[in-house]
């Protein structure tokens, strides 16, 4: 690689990692690519909290909360306020899950690994549009995403698509084959049930082949039929309760044709085989390559990098560790031009890393991120948070970042020299202009604010 090692160390820690902590750039200097590639490991990304309740436990708690309310109503007693109970569940579960994730990002020595995990969590977005999904997002990431981020994409896809959080978020859990035994039984008992194509559509459009693949409405409907039965065990179903469960009786019988390929009736395996083929598709390889290059390098990703990533994906049969290594070894990744503008999440995390602090009171972080347009756990749609600068580089957002920087710097700077903090945070990426401006600051806090708001810190 023709670039200077000092610059590469700064790029490795800020563009591919989550922002440099004290001494990190120095540590990465002798071998910036090695510093990154040693973070790739077969067991995946960090587990946020080994003590975190499983999704099955969370679902059981949620159902308990619903039952308490129903029983109180049935007994004619004043039912507990559902709003208060919902807030309580979120405060007790989702808040600490999110705080754990922020703390991990702020402190980890393997911040490329963490960025890679966050990329996949956003690719397979579950958003808190329902109370129940809010409490499942933490367990979802921990159970379905993090273990697989350096494994085969197909495994990641199946883990996501069969996880209760995704099944509930995109309404798959209650999708019934119209000709299935269960649907016919329900029809007779006056509770008609049928197909819901939401998850099937988003798997095709967002998670795998993308719209470029040119599939039709009929392909979506056929895939939704193949997926019927992918559901969750109910509260009274013993060991299965709250876990993925294939409901044979809800599965639409028969063969399916999807993207021109014939899939014989095979119960659970029918949708599983469709996913295998979707994961192996060159359209998926291209879709993922563009997204990875866009996230890590530039909004308009260099075609040469996209081609390398796509080739790596197809050649390794979707091995994400190979794709990550290819990203690290590609010259386009190391262009000195910093063209990505940080999202609010990235901005806050990198600020904490630069200052050697953490999120502190979770409510402060929640408030700041909400004001900057990235409300925690609440991506606006299944597409996840946008990855283009235009979505974040915005007048109102910038003023909010400035206000936050001032408050944060006043608390965080203590008696440290902002010039040294800037050297440690940006290394060779620090421009003489910013260095001089920081040096002329009236107070230490002002110096830190200038660092955090400098173009080279806002961009990566």
């Amino acid at each position: 690689m023709g670039y200077d090692k000092n610059l590469m160390a700064a790029i490795a820690t800020t563009r591919l990692g989550l922002g440099a902590k004290a001494d990190e750039i120095i540590a990465a200097k002798s071998d910036p690519q090695g510093w990154l590639s040693t973070q790739i490991r077969p067991q995946g990304a960090e587990i946020i909290d080994p003590q975190m309740a499983s999704s099955a436990d969370r679902l059981a708690q949620y159902r308990e909360f619903q039952t308490t309310r129903k029983q109180a109503r049935a007994a004619g007693e004043p039912a507990p306020d559902p709003v208060k109970m919902a807030i309580q569940l979120i405060r007790r579960d989702a808040g600490p899950d999110f705080a754990g994730r922020l703390n991990l990002a702020a402190n980890t020595d393997a911040s490329f690994r963490e960025r890679w995990a966050l990329f996949w969590a956003n690719h397979f977005t579950v958003s808190a549009t329902k109370v129940v999904t809010a409490t499942l997002i933490g367990p979802f990431e921990q159970e379905a995403i993090r273990p697989h981020v350096f494994g085969r994409f197909e495994d990641l896809l199946v883990a996501s698509s069969s996880h209760p959080a995704m099944l509930l978020y995109l309404d798959q859990a209650r999708s019934f084959g119209p000709d299935s035994k269960a649907a016919q039984f329900l029809e007779r008992s006056g509770k008609p049930a049928g197909l819901n194509e939401n998850l099937a559509r988003e798997i095709m459009e967002l998670h795998t082949v993308g719209v470029q693949a040119g599939y039709r409405q009929a392909d979506v409907t056929e895939f939704a039929r193949a997926m019927t039965g992918w559901s969750i065990g109910a509260l009274n179903e013993g060991d299965r309760s709250g876990k993925f469960y294939f409901r044979e009786n809800a599965h639409e019988p028969g063969a399916r044709v999807i993207l021109g390929k014939h899939y014989p009736e095979a119960g659970y395996d029918q949708a599983r085989w469709v996913m295998r083929d979707l994961a192996a598709s060159p359209f998926t390889a291209n879709h993922l390559a563009v997204k990875i290059a866009r996230h890590f390098v530039a909004d308009d990703p260099p075609p040469a990098l996209v081609a390398r990533l796509k080739t790596a994906y197809l050649g390794s049969h979707g091995d994400l560790a190979v794709v990550a290594q290819t990203l690290i070894r590609s010259p386009e990744t190391w262009t000195p031009q910093a063209s990505k503008f940080k999202s609010p999440y990235e901005f806050l995390v990198s600020s904490w890393r630069a200052a050697g602090t953490g999120p502190g009171e979770i409510q402060d972080a929640v408030r700041a991120m909400t004001a900057m347009g990235q409300k925690p756990l609440s991506a606006p749609s299944p597409k996840g948070w946008p990855d283009e600068s235009a979505a974040w580089l915005d007048p109102d957002d910038l003023v909010k970042r400035m206000a936050w920087s001032e408050t944060f710097s006043a608390q965080a700077v203590a008696d440290r020299d902002p010039g040294q903090l800037a050297e440690a945070a940006l290394g060779a990426r620090l421009t003489p202009l910013a260095g001089k401006t920081i040096g002329r600051a009236e107070t230490r806090a002002e110096g830190l604010s200038i660092l955090l708001m400098s173009p080279e810190f806002q961009r990566r």
């Binding site: 808040g95 329902k130 194509e197 925690p376």
Partner: protein, 423 residues
């Protein structure tokens, strides 16, 4: 208002017929400019695919109740029934303030409107709705930004988006402002000045900062005019705000209304914004959509509160305003297996404001007869979204055909503007 200032006298008589204008002299020019400079346009984008058959339920359509089953809105006069517009259509019972406008002739429905997109993908359809071109991801700028490019002397048409980030519809070469509640910048601090110098070599950051700071000052002025006190944001809203969560309904409505009055204040102050865009999310109701009450009713109550706040806040300026509320696509005519609806095609647009012409529904109603459903599934479109926008831009803002077909909706030459919508 004197007859001279009616829209027809101005646009039809003067701008529409170029010859007249040639001889009208500078006084008439100035009068036209002044009148057009007062005109205001607000576009509300309801994201997620708003179910038109619930927003403006055709309860008089013989096929409606059977197709919709448990999520059908009850008929006129029944408990939780539709608010009657005509023999066929009503408004959802949550749309109380919008209904009051309709009764004054200041709100109409366009019950079968769609973008040219037929793929039923949120992202493609929103992209087409906002970029105004028929090729997906075919333009990096939004059509409202291009409207600003074509509008009169520089600086007259100024755009504003509500929300912390600018939606595609307003993105583009013309610098626009965005604003969301909760800013805290003090104009007399040192840091903004230091950063303006530091951003000297970064045009994107320096432009954004300059706009952000001036908007912040405007926001303070505007908010001072708004009497309604804002409740502070609670944790419930911050982390649980979503379509199925009740705190949104109870605590969010006054704030949503206030968003409307604050936007109105932005638009009515000196040099106020002429064009604004607002996004309201979470209309993707695949499961448990509800009927008169429930998930969708909550979201509609938000929309209604915003409209109410905006119309009240604009005061006399409401008479110069048109508000268009649209969505990327409608939803399936039949209820699905999970008491919701899936991605469909045509939906309802709302056309509102003191500057609209009184009248019935806009466009034809294809009916819900099985043979008339698009792909045996969705409300069939009878109005192209661009025809609606082009009609409003022609009649209300005085945009020329050349501007519409050349700049704003570049590949829409074959789509005639829907005329006669403005008073």
């Amino acid at each position: 208002m004197t007859p001279f200032f009616t829209r027809r006298a101005l646009v039809g008589g003067a701008l529409g017929v170029g010859v007249t204008l040639e001889f009208a002299g500078s006084r008439a020019f100035a009068a036209v400019d002044r009148a057009l400079a007062r005109k205001k346009l607000v576009v509300i984008v309801c994201r997620g695919g708003l179910d038109g058959l619930s927003l403006s339920p055709p309860v008089g359509d013989p096929a409606y109740a059977a197709l919709r089953g448990p999520i059908a809105i009850p008929g006129f006069g029944q408990g939780g029934g539709a608010l009657k517009l005509d023999e066929t259509f009503g408004l959802h019972p949550a749309m109380v303030q919008t209904y009051a406008l309709a009764q004054k002739g200041q709100a109409r429905i366009v019950p079968a409107v769609a973008t040219p997109d037929r793929e039923r993908s949120h992202f493609e359809a929103q992209d087409m709705l906002e970029s105004g071109v028929t090729k997906v991801y075919g333009s990096a700028s939004g059509w409202l930004n291009r409207v600003l490019q074509t509008m009169g002397p520089a600086g007259k048409g100024v755009g504003l988006s509500v929300g912390p980030t600018a939606p595609l519809i307003l993105r583009g070469p013309v610098e626009t402002a965005s604003w969301s509640p909760g800013g805290a910048a003090e104009p007399d601090r040192r840091l903004p000045g230091i950063l303006q110098d530091l951003y000297a070599h970064d045009p994107q950051l320096s432009a954004a900062l300059a706009t952000g700071l001036s908007t912040e000052v405007m926001a303070k002025t505007a908010q001072a005019q708004v009497a309604t006190a804002a409740a502070s944001t609670t944790e419930g809203q911050v982390m649980a705000g979503g379509p199925t969560v009740a705190p949104a309904l109870r605590q969010g409505l006054p704030q949503t209304r206030k968003l409307g009055t604050t936007l109105a204040a932005f638009m009515t102050e000196d040099n106020g914004k002429q064009v604004a865009a607002v996004s309201i999310d979470n209309f993707d109701t695949h499961a448990n959509q509800g009927s008169s009450q429930g998930q969708l009713a909550t979201r509609l109550a938000y929309l209604d509160a915003f409209i109410g706040g905006l119309s009240d806040g604009l005061g006399p300026a409401w008479n110069d305003t048109i508000v268009v509320s649209v969505t990327e696509f409608g939803r399936t005519a039949r209820v699905n297996g999970t008491n919701g609806t899936d991605h469909g095609t045509a939906s309802t647009a709302l056309l509102m404001g003191g500057a609209i012409r009184r009248g019935g529904i806009v466009g034809d109603w294809p009916t819900l007869q099985q043979a008339r459903l698009f792909e045996n599934r969705d409300t069939a479109p009878t109005v192209d979204m661009r025809a609606l926008f082009k009609g409003v831009l022609t009649d209300h803002l005085g945009l020329s055909r050349a501007a519409l077909n050349g700049v704003v909706f570049p590949d829409s030459g074959g789509i005639e503007p829907l005329r006669g919508l403005a008073a």
